[in-house]
């Protein structure tokens, strides 16, 4: 981390609207459902530089019951996009874990797009004690 030098100028942060637009674009305009997708994130992250997040989607991962991709967004970072996971039948399960940067307390959103075009969403608020530097 660069320390405090970079903190004097605050960058333009993504807002809730930009994130909603990004979610809608990823979902191809489909109204997202809930329940099938689970996003796991800590309630409180002491260090915003490395916040573990996991996503898991119920699916047989065969035939038409296949999760094609899952996108992660964060509505309080400079840009809402975090990552897009791409799954295949060889994945066996539609689940993945990574570590992300959170600039401040905000919502993390996970959106799953299925092969049949349906879209599912889950959202978790993460309270950040020390923001991820410029992340």
């Amino acid at each position: 981390c660069a320390g405090f030098t970079g903190l004097a100028v605050s960058p333009a942060f993504a807002d809730v609207d930009a994130t909603a637009k990004a979610v809608a674009a990823f979902g191809g305009g489909q109204e997202p459902g809930t329940g099938k997708i689970t996003l796991t994130a800590p309630e409180i992250a002491e260090n915003g530089n490395t916040v573990p997040i996991s996503v898991s989607v119920e699916s047989a991962m065969e035939g038409d019951d296949l999760v094609e991709s899952v996108a992660i967004f964060a509505d309080g970072n400079p840009n809402p996009e975090v990552a897009i996971f791409h799954f295949t039948p060889l994945s066996g399960e539609a689940s993945a874990t990574t570590r992300m940067r959170l600039a401040k307390t905000q919502n993390v959103v996970a959106v799953a797009r299925m092969k049949d075009g349906s879209v599912f969403v889950d959202k978790k608020e993460v309270k950040v004690t020390i923001g991820g530097c410029g992340g």
Partner: protein
């Protein structure tokens, strides 16, 4: 920056049809392009923007990374093993560098 070093963790053997967990980590600063140096100049973005895992040439899992992914990007995901073979892991850097690693697996 030192050459990124990949680290992979997966079982040496699996039962046919078993879903195994694969953990990968690669050393990389993931410079976000948001930070400033001591003179106040923006440090240019340099991240790993793509990670993929293939098994015997078939795609298993991949990820598009944005600057919001932490330094030393870590991924944990699963793979269904139907036959013995080799997992190939590929990381693509913003500067065009490609880092790869391979791990074999046997089927009981």
């Amino acid at each position: 920056m030192a050459t990124p070093k990949p680290r992979i963790k997966l079982p040496k053997t699996a039962d046919k049809g078993e879903v195994i967990v694969i953990k990968t980590l690669i050393s990389h600063t993931m410079e976000s392009g948001q930070r400033k140096d001591k003179e106040g100049k923006l440090i240019p973005r340099q991240i790993i923007n793509k990670f993929s895992c293939e098994f015997n040439g078939q795609p298993v899992f991949s990820c598009d990374l944005e600057p919001a992914i932490s330094a030393n990007p870590y991924f944990e995901f699963s793979a269904k093993v139907m036959e013995a073979g080799t997992f190939k892991f590929t990381w693509v850097d913003d500067d065009g560098s490609v880092y790869t690693d391979e791990q074999p697996i046997k089927v009981n």
